[in-house]
């Protein structure tokens, strides 16, 4: 796999600590401030983190020390053992299974011929359209979102194929990363959606209505991303559309094209769950590469497995540590206190909606989507319903807010996934998603203002 690696290139100076560290320290200080802690302990701890960074420790270890320190020094009734316990709980979950499966399947398809065939098809069909491949990538994410309830899985599955292709066609790196991270976030807006299931169960709101409510906002965001892709790539020469070339790409890529068909058909036909779909796609990819394309050798398979292993080893421990910090936020009641404060202070429905959105965007920076949903939805929903909002509409608004949280540092899972999958600096990933964040904020306002789109 020829991924451009930022590690092999010479470093340009002046990048300083990067947005990541800055935001992480800010978030930590906000947390400690909210806990009513400042002082020597805090500054000493902050200094330790800076020292670790100066001595070039890997992010995983720095974040590990950060979390261990929060457990040992700041959280009430805690111990570093609980960090390990939380990490274990995070890894020991059925819903996380699809991540390794799609990583493995993605690596297999990328090294083999399936990815190539899919990309050829996408390129042939979008030839002549400015930003055609970007449009195709967005649509692929939207389609994949319809079978996966998770955003990181959507992003991984599509991104591992689309990103190298976009780079090869000369798309801007930043644009490509930002687009894939943003379009990948559709995973929790277009049904099925793990986030909406959690909202529904925690607030006793109909999950079916939430799912239906997410369709139009999801399509709207996809549409906005499509328009943006076209507008940003107006001058890109993407060749001319040729019906015969498109037809040839379909014939040549038949087995590869069957992949999404099997996945969608399997899930909507009731043959397997989204998690199992990941394993099935892996099996299918292996069979096709082994018996039909026959370009891969046994050594290639070994490489694919090791590659996936390392990617998992970079990604999942980070996710596990983040989940421990979320547990602390939950147990300490920090975010809950914010909700109570807002509910008491604001009565005007419009101001309330604005305040709650700001709160959720803030929470989206420091919490992972599922935990934020579980902790905050039962607190916020009654306040909003009291102010006259529909519980389904608010559920979709909340999902949209937390979806944006996938792209906001320091805890933004799509950022972490992009960093690991595309081998980029965190700060670079953050800068890549900025224009898309603006786009998504505009989208959020629309979703808030037009409840008719949802209910």
């Amino acid at each position: 796999m020829t991924t451009t690696s930022s590690f092999s290139e010479p470093r340009e100076g002046g990048q300083a600590l990067g947005l990541y560290l800055f935001a992480a320290v800010l978030a930590l200080l906000a947390l400690l401030g909210a806990l009513g802690l400042t002082s020597l302990k805090v500054s000493g701890f902050g200094a330790l983190i800076v020292v670790l960074l100066y001595f070039r420790l890997p992010i995983i270890l720095v974040v590990g020390v950060l979390a261990a320190g929060v457990h040992a020094l700041f959280a009430s009734n805690s111990d570093v053992e609980y960090l390990m316990q939380d990490m274990w709980f995070a890894l020991d979950r059925e819903v996380l299974l699809s991540v390794p499966m799609f990583i493995l399947a993605g690596a297999l398809m990328a090294r083999g011929s399936i990815a190539k065939s899919l990309i050829n098809c996408m390129s042939a069909f979008t030839a002549g359209l400015p930003g055609g491949l970007a449009v195709a990538t967005t649509l692929a994410c939207a389609v994949f979102a319809a079978i996966s309830g998770s955003s990181i899985v959507t992003m991984l599955a599509v991104g591992s194929i689309a990103y190298p292709a976009m780079i090869r066609q000369g798309y801007d790196e930043k644009f490509s990363i930002g687009l894939i991270a943003a379009a990948g976030s559709l995973g929790i807006m277009i049904p099925p959606s793990i986030a909406m299931i959690l909202y529904g169960i925690m607030t006793e709101t109909s999950i079916t209505r939430l799912f239906t409510g997410g369709i139009k906002p999801g399509l709207l965001l996809a549409g906005m991303l499509v328009l943006y892709s076209v507008a940003m790539n107006l001058r890109r020469n993407s060749g001319r559309f040729s019906a015969s070339a498109a037809a040839r790409s379909v014939v040549a890529g038949f087995w590869a094209l069957m992949m999404p068909v099997i996945l969608l058909g399997g899930i909507y036909g009731g043959y397997f769950s989204p998690t199992e779909a990941a394993a099935v796609s892996l099996l299918y990819a292996a069979l096709v590469e082994l018996f039909i394309y026959r370009e891969m050798k046994l050594a290639d398979y070994k490489k694919v497995v090791v590659e996936s292993l390392i990617m998992l080893g970079r990604l999942l421990p980070l996710v596990a540590i983040a989940s421990s910090l979320n547990t602390i936020l939950d147990y300490e009641g920090v975010t809950q206190a914010w909700v109570v404060a807002i509910g008491q202070a604001i009565e005007n429905p419009v101001l309330l909606m604005i305040a709650v959105n700001l709160l959720l965007l803030g929470v989206g920076c420091i919490m992972e989507v599922s935990s934020a949903m579980v902790v905050l939805s039962p607190l916020l929903m009654p306040i909003m319903v009291n102010a006259g909002y529909d519980p389904v509409h608010f559920g979709v608004v909340m999902t949209a807010n937390l979806e944006i949280g996938y792209l906001t540092p320091p805890v933004g899972l799509n950022l972490v996934v992009a960093m690991v999958a595309f081998k980029k600096e965190f700060s670079e990933v953050v800068r890549s998603v900025l224009p898309f964040l603006v786009l998504m904020l505009i989208w959020l306002v629309i979703v808030c203002v037009y409840p008719a789109m949802v209910v």
């Binding site: 299931i197 169960i201 006793e204 109909s206 769950s273 147990y331």
Partner: protein, 308 residues
């Protein structure tokens, strides 16, 4: 003043959460101002139990299945169709099982405070399945426990293990056509729309066990311990409250969601029962020695109840 947590799985506003609040308030009052207890939602029962074991969360409440991670013996209470009547269950659990469990909990580092009921499981389906024959060879969601597996195998379904979060979309996409949970939980899920037929099979009973970390318990004064045991809601109070929640859920299902509720007559119930006792040895064989001796206690107590 210390802030203690009572870990539990019921979503805020649910009957289980209300019961948790009642319990937490009673313990807070009994502490005489030494500490407060607040309900803490923890979505995974086994994780909650592991946290109480270590004292990270002080108290908890869950089913014997949720406790299985630390107290495997208790899972024997999850045998299908274990009870002939609520009266029998009440007698056996409160007078015979509870003392045995108390000792087992203590050995594991936990203090058992109260056992109440979180109702019976029912089966919900996409079509009327009051006769289990309609589910034969059909894909049914089976939870990952041996009693559940054996019960459903006894009905010759095609068992599918799904995490609960994948069950709801799975029902909509016909990945499974039926599953089983207690009625009050059922009415809060999208299953009321995708699988609106609820059959009160009452095959599993969920005991609802309140417990706390033993070190924390031993750290309390004698007065505090006595006060807690006196002030906590009785099993009858908690069970009666939950029964009213079940009735509320039944009305909600029929009136609000236009779903279907099937109470079974003896003949229909016999079909669900399907001589499941003949499978008890298989289930018991998968359990621990301690579970099997607890089962002997239950058998003896049931005989004693029958004589009375």
């Amino acid at each position: 003043q210390e802030a203690w947590k009572l870990g539990q799985v019921g979503a805020p506003g649910s009957g289980l959460a209300v019961m948790g609040d009642k319990f937490a308030t009673a313990v807070t009052e009994a502490s005489g101002g030494a500490f407060t207890v607040e309900r803490q939602f923890i979505g995974n029962e086994q994780e909650m139990v592991q946290q109480v074991l270590r004292g990270r969360v002080e108290m908890g409440v869950t089913s014997p299945q949720g406790m299985g991670v630390a107290i495997p013996a208790g899972t024997v209470l999850g045998l299908p169709f274990l009870w002939k009547s609520d009266e029998e269950r009440d007698f056996v659990v409160q007078t015979k099982v509870k003392p045995v469990l108390e000792a087992i909990y203590e050995k594991a580092g936990l203090k058992l405070l109260q056992i109440s009921s979180a109702g019976y499981y029912g089966v919900f389906c996409k079509v009327d399945c009051s006769d289990p024959a309609t589910l034969k060879q059909q894909k049914v969601r089976v939870s990952a426990t041996v009693p559940s597996r054996v019960f459903w195998e006894n009905q010759q379904v095609n068992p599918v293990q799904l995490p609960v979060s994948e069950l709801w979309p799975g029902l909509e996409q016909n990945l499974v056509v039926a599953a089983d949970i207690p009625l009050p939980y059922y009415v809060t899920t999208p299953a009321v729309e995708s699988a609106p037929h609820f059959v009160a099979a009452k095959h599993f009973h969920a005991d609802w066990i309140y417990f706390m970390n033993l070190r924390k318990w031993n750290g309390l004064s004698d007065e505090q311990r006595t006060a807690i045991q006196e002030k906590i809601p009785t099993s009858q109070e908690l069970t009666a409250f939950y029964d009213s929640e079940v009735e509320k859920a039944r009305r909600q299902l029929v009136d609000e969601f236009k779903g279907h509720y099937y109470e079974l007559n003896d003949e229909q119930r016999a079909k669900w029962h399907n001589n499941i006792e003949t499978k008890y040895p298989e289930i018991l064989a998968s359990m621990t020695e301690e579970a099997r001796s607890l089962y002997e206690v239950i058998v003896a107590a049931k005989k004693e109840f029958a004589v009375r």
